[in-house]
Amino acid sequence: MFLYELAQVSKEYSLGDRAVPVLKNIDLQIKKGEFVSIVGPSGSGKSTLMQLLGCLDIPSSGVLRIGEHDVLALSDDQLASLRCRTIGFVFQSFHLLPSYDAVSNVSLASTYRGLPQGRERALQLLKDLGLGHRLHHKPNTLSGGEKQRVAIARAMINNPEVLLADEPTGSLDQQNGQMILDLLEQFHRQGKTIILVTHDSHIAARAHRLIEIVDGQIQTDHG
């Protein structure tokens, strides 16, 4: 059973009257419970691929299936619902809301899902991630490692199928970076599908499958 099935997926952006292709005819399958890393130099299209996998954007052509859903056939609301239930995001620049404390940032995602006890679960998740003493701190009073752990807690609160991490260690020092990668591995052991996007081959090596993207096409796929 594949979690992701991509067939001939292309994505182009229009730049004025010119269409710039970013992804060209991608064929890719990812199984449930895999730990995949997507590597490539900047501008290779790996971030665009991640946006497609995360339903933040839709392909220009081709077929993209997530579970039993055909992404191109879904409405905007259905895509939002899919993001909410199935996908957790971790970004390089954390993307926390500056005016919310840690707990509110984490429970935000559960609000949109409409689940009860969002705050209680957010508190528990943050405590599990060693942030019990930072529950009511706002992002600007947290260190980089702490911010990224808050972001991971937010990604996990709706118990998603897949965790999409876009350069999660990019803004962190060595030690904090390691901690975040350890956390991703831990979630993988618990059965989550992890997709890690990075330009750093050392970090990518932590994954069990390595997909290399160059110039909008899959160059190598070792797994």
Binding site: L56, D57, S81, R83, R154
Partner: protein, 401 residues
């Protein structure tokens, strides 16, 4: 319900995060609502004052005038018989002539000009006056054409500053008139232009006056009517005035105070409507100002919108969030505006008591209307920015810095 609660929470957190901007964005709404509330309160106050004055006068006053007929070159005549005839109508409480009868009045020591008015005992009740000292004229005195009079307190003080005016006499129309009473004007009747003539006033029995004076010109007849009577007063009075004589047709007219007051209130209503519309324009400007700030806010918070979309917010959720935010903002603006407006309405008559002689009337309904319109305005002017926010693409919004 939970979504709304959460929306309110989000709105308040964001408003507090940008205190200065929030305040500036609602300033226009505050001023707009304040000016609407002020105008509503002031015009309601003026209206209540008119109604109060009318109630003090009684709503049942009619006046009969003589008219000049251009075809027959004749004008109507008003005389004592007309008064007697009008009093025969079952709904007429009482009737008096209006005279313009200035005479030289003498006491033993002084001579002054005074206004002489012919009355009967019902005069005081009808005109809302009180006899404060002495007594009213009696039917016997009318019967005997007794030369007695009642004087205003002002006139009594002018003629008899030292001694008790009761029992003293005044001389006019070639007769000696004994003062039997003093009366006071009600406050409501003391309008500025009437004060001087009314204050130097002498009331005498009408029948006595008509006997002592040969030339008494009735300018008009003042007829007080039972306010409970619902029939056509004007028509019945005209019928009495014209009698069966076709020559008298068209020589009289009847003026209805209630009709006049209604017209005046109607004009007041139109004026207050116009002023409210003008004030609403400032509210509109306030709303546009708020829309501008909301648009800036949407542009600045593009990344926030992207984050919310990424964690699962639908377009609808973003739209509702910004609508709630702008409604809460303008609701707060409306709340502050009501207080500012109420305070202004109270302060104006104190600060400019020459211009605003009448105090405001603050009605909770105004507060409710203002509050509802403020919140609605937030929704209306917040709609465009909210739609803009909800249409942002999640991927692009996340890329923005």
């Amino acid at each position: 319900m939970d979504k709304l609660k959460d929306g309110l929470h989000i709105a308040i957190v964001n408003l507090l995060a940008n205190k200065t901007r929030s305040f500036l964005s609602i300033l226009g709404v505050v001023i707009g609502i304040a000016s609407v509330v002020t105008i509503l309160a002031m015009t309601a106050g003026a209206r209540a004052d008119v109604i109060k004055k009318v109630n003090a006068l009684g709503l049942s006053l009619y006046q009969v005038f003589s008219e000049y007929d251009e075809k027959s070159f004749r004008s109507g005549e008003l005389d004592f018989q007309d008064i007697q005839n009008l009093k025969q109508l079952h709904f007429v409480v009482t009737a008096f002539p209006k005279l313009n009868f200035f005479k030289e009045i003498r006491s033993r020591h002084k001579t002054l000009m005074g206004n002489i008015v012919g009355i009967d005992p019902s005069y005081f009740k009808a005109k809302n006056l009180t006899v404060v000292e002495g007594r009213n004229v009696s039917p016997v005195e009318i019967e005997r054409r007794a030369t007695v009079c009642l004087v205003s307190r002002k006139l009594a003080e002018t003629f008899f500053p030292e001694s008790d005016p009761l029992g003293q006499s005044l001389f006019f129309s070639g007769n000696r008139w004994d003062i039997i009473g003093l009366y006071n004007q009600e406050e409501a009747r003391r309008t500025r232009n009437k004060r001087s003539t009314q204050e130097m006033e002498i009331l005498v029995p009408l029948e006595t006056l008509l006997r002592t004076e040969k030339e008494v010109d009735f300018q008009s007849l003042e007829v007080h009517v039972n306010p409970d009577f619902k029939g056509n007063v004007k028509e019945e009075m005209l019928a009495v005035m014209e009698g069966q004589d076709p020559k008298r047709k068209g020589l009289y007219s009847v003026w209805d105070q209630q009709e006049y007051i209604q017209k005046r209130l109607e004009i007041d209503r139109i004026l207050s409507l116009i002023m409210t519309i003008v004030a609403s324009i400032s509210l509109l400007v306030g709303g546009i100002g708020m829309m501008n700030v909301m648009l800036t806010s949407v542009a600045e918070r593009t990344r926030e919108i992207g984050i919310r979309r990424a964690v699962g917010a639908r377009k609808k959720d973003i739209l509702i969030q910004f609508l709630i935010e702008s409604s809460v903002l303008s609701g707060i603006g409306g709340f502050l505006g009501i207080f500012l407006g109420a305070s202004t309405a109270r302060a104006l008559p104190v600060l400019f008591h020459k211009v605003f002689q009448v105090g405001p009337q603050l009605n909770p309904v105004f507060a409710l209307i203002s509050m509802v319109s403020a919140v609605l305005m937030g929704g209306i002017f917040g709609l465009y920015p909210a739609i803009k926010a909800s249409r942002l693409s999640a991927a692009e919004a996340l890329r923005s810095e």
